[in-house]
């Protein structure tokens, strides 16, 4: 595999029910910046129903979009996705393939990379082009304690990229580009049956601008009602530590942290949360952090903009009262 044969950046855009995941637009925006040095193209690849508007991806920064049309892509079936993506990558030979590091992206990308027998960098938070024209992939590891700078010897250079690391470009309705429709080459497999969608995340905490979160300082499930009231008042979402999720106070969809969701809101209010490294990993990049904890030595205070040593059950109701005035 030589570098000359491989050209351009391909963004594989995840979609569900015809709606493209916003991380795809962030990646297109970033890809445009990465190709500034060299006039090689930015491509989009989307697998989804015919009704999906692939033109958006052009407006977001792609020069060419491959749209493999089928309703079958409304199911998270890694095997069928893989079989339809491989021939396109083999034909187009992009130098770089970027995929959003969503759960589905992180399940699908390794299968594609292994099938192509190329390298894959996981869950990146930044990308750069080096002097030799190669991609530098920057990613946190060791439970977010370090940043590794990684380069790939093989082509395409593949990476999954975390949601909300790059800004979302404004769609430009004037942007011109080509949409190439493709028929799916494989539409069934008999190894994994997708029986049903059990639940759909109602709370998309990853996108919340305000998060009011509770930990072990809360005594029971009803305590979350008070936090919910504050979240509703502020237009936000309720978050939680793993310990209270495990205790059954609130569903996993609300868990913030290393093995939960990563959030980057304008405001994070931590109530009765000690600030374990695994919790901080999911929220430390919040713009403003307010922490309420009875223990003045709680580690959460070291990353808080405002810390209040006190009982959340006293502070939050008083805050609610003030805000309602």
């Amino acid at each position: 595999m030589t570098q000359q044969e491989y050209n351009g950046i391909m963004v594989i855009a995840e979609q569900k029910d015809g709606k493209v995941h916003p991380v795809a637009f962030e990646l297109l925006g970033k890809a445009r910046k990465l190709v500034e040095k060299k006039p090689q193209g930015v491509m989009g690849l989307v697998l989804g129903p015919e009704t999906l508007d692939a033109k958006n991806l052009i407006e977001g920064g792609a020069d060419r979009v491959f749209h493999v049309t089928s309703e079958i892509f409304n199911l998270p079936d890694e095997l069928i996705y893989k079989e339809n993506i491989l021939p396109i990558i083999r034909e187009i030979k992009p130098a770089i393939v970027l995929i959003g590091a969503t759960t589905f992206g992180r399940s699908l990308a390794p299968r594609i990379a292994a099938a192509l027998d190329t390298g894959l960098t996981a869950d990146c938070t930044d990308l750069q082009i080096d002097d030799d024209g190669k991609l530098v992939q920057i990613r946190p590891a060791f439970t977010e304690n370090i940043l590794a700078h990684i380069k790939t010897k093989t082509y395409p250079q593949m990476a999954t990229i975390r949601y909300r690391e790059f800004s979302r470009p404004d769609l430009d309705p004037e942007r011109k580009g080509e949409i190439i429709l493709r028929e799916p080459s494989v539409t069934s497999q008999n190894r994994v049956e997708i029986l049903e969608e059990v639940t759909r995340q109602k709370t998309n905490i990853a996108e919340a601008e305000i998060v009011v979160a509770g930990g072990r300082g809360l005594k029971n499930a009803p305590d979350f009602i008070t936090l919910q009231e504050l979240a509703d008042l502020l237009g936000g979402t309720v978050g939680a530590t793993r310990d209270v999720v495990d205790a059954g106070f609130i569903s996993k969809a609300h868990q913030v942290g290393y093995s939960g969701h990563r959030v980057k809101p304008l405001l994070y209010i931590a109530c009765g949360i000690s600030g374990a490294p695994q919790h901080k990993a999911g929220m430390k990049e919040s713009e403003t952090i307010i922490a309420i904890n009875t223990d003045p030595s709680a580690p959460i205070f070291s990353i808080a903009d405002i810390g209040i040593v006190g009982d959340w059950a006293e502070v939050i109701p008083r805050l609610l009262e003030k805000l309602k005035q």
Binding site: D123, L195, R200, L266, I303, K322
Partner: protein
């Protein structure tokens, strides 16, 4: 049912020290333990074995000291352990790790099910499970949160994927990666603890694979990705203001102000 559980030895993350100036991880600062997610993988295997019977093999690639990890796996319910250890395997990225694990799983065949953790706490990539499945040409289901039914020919599970959760039925052989939510790993039982001290852990080195693995396919040589540099961001510290219990009134005024500034339209007024 023959189940292979993939187990990685990792540093104790709560203890390990990072030198932000030199950009190094001081691995000596901490002991080692089983990757926490792999305990859930092992517990899943034990529960399946309890239902349908069979054998559990714990498989790990790592330095010789990882043998201890496999003994712990036996104490926690595995029947035996295989350690892949050789200088030629060292420095592997996820591609080389998965490729080597896949070749080892083929050697340990027949197998029905491979179970991996969702991710490790050191490499953090969550890639080895699905990559190994691809190199074995078997299906996988990632981020499994619930095991509903196991039979000799299939597995019905719920997985957390695509901004929701889905029930899937996988026909075996296949691979699953499990999250922390799937179960609470039980503690080692006394009789297994005894067994773990005596059991022989198979040691497979590169020569074991003379027929199905070339030196270019494993270890550093078989790794397309390379860590060029490590930087350790200084820990985020905010020179925040901390209000004592006597200052609660001032504190409330301060946070009320922030809340009013940041309140999102759409919030109730």
């Amino acid at each position: 049912m023959r189940i292979i559980v993939l187990i990685k030895q990792v540093p104790e993350m709560d203890r390990v020290k990072f030198d932000s100036e030199k950009g190094v991880i001081d691995r000596k600062s901490a002991g080692v333990e089983i990757n926490p997610f792999d305990l859930n993988a092992l517990e899943t295997a034990v529960q399946i074995k309890e239902q349908v019977g069979g054998e559990i093999i714990a498989l790990s690639m790592g330095p010789p000291r990882a043998e201890k990890t496999l003994r712990e796996a036996v104490a926690r319910g595995a029947d035996r352990g295989i350690l892949l250890s050789d200088g030629k395997f060292a420095g592997a990225d996820t591609r080389a790790t998965s490729f080597t694990l896949a070749r080892a799983i083929e050697k340990a065949a027949p197998f029905d099910l491979v179970i991996a953790g969702e991710m490790t706490v050191d490499g953090d990539t969550a890639q080895v499970g699905p990559q190994t499945a691809e190199y074995l040409d078997i299906p996988h289901v990632a981020y499994v949160t619930d095991l509903e039914e196991a039979s000799d020919s299939s597995l019905t599970v719920t997985c957390n994927i695509w901004e929701g959760s889905y029930r899937k039925r996988m026909h075996l052989p296949g691979l699953i990666t499990v999250t922390k939510d799937i179960n609470f790993p039980r503690l080692p039982e006394l009789k297994n603890k005894m067994k773990s001290r005596e059991v022989e852990i198979c040691r497979w080195d590169f020569s074991t694979f003379s027929d199905n693995l070339s030196p270019e396919q494993t270890g550093l040589k078989g790794s397309p990705t390379q860590v060029k540099k490590i930087t350790i961001p200084p820990p985020i510290e905010r020179k925040g203001q901390v209000f004592s219990p006597e200052e609660t009134d001032e504190a409330l005024a301060a946070i009320e102000k922030i809340c009013r500034e940041k309140r999102v339209s759409g919030g109730q007024s």
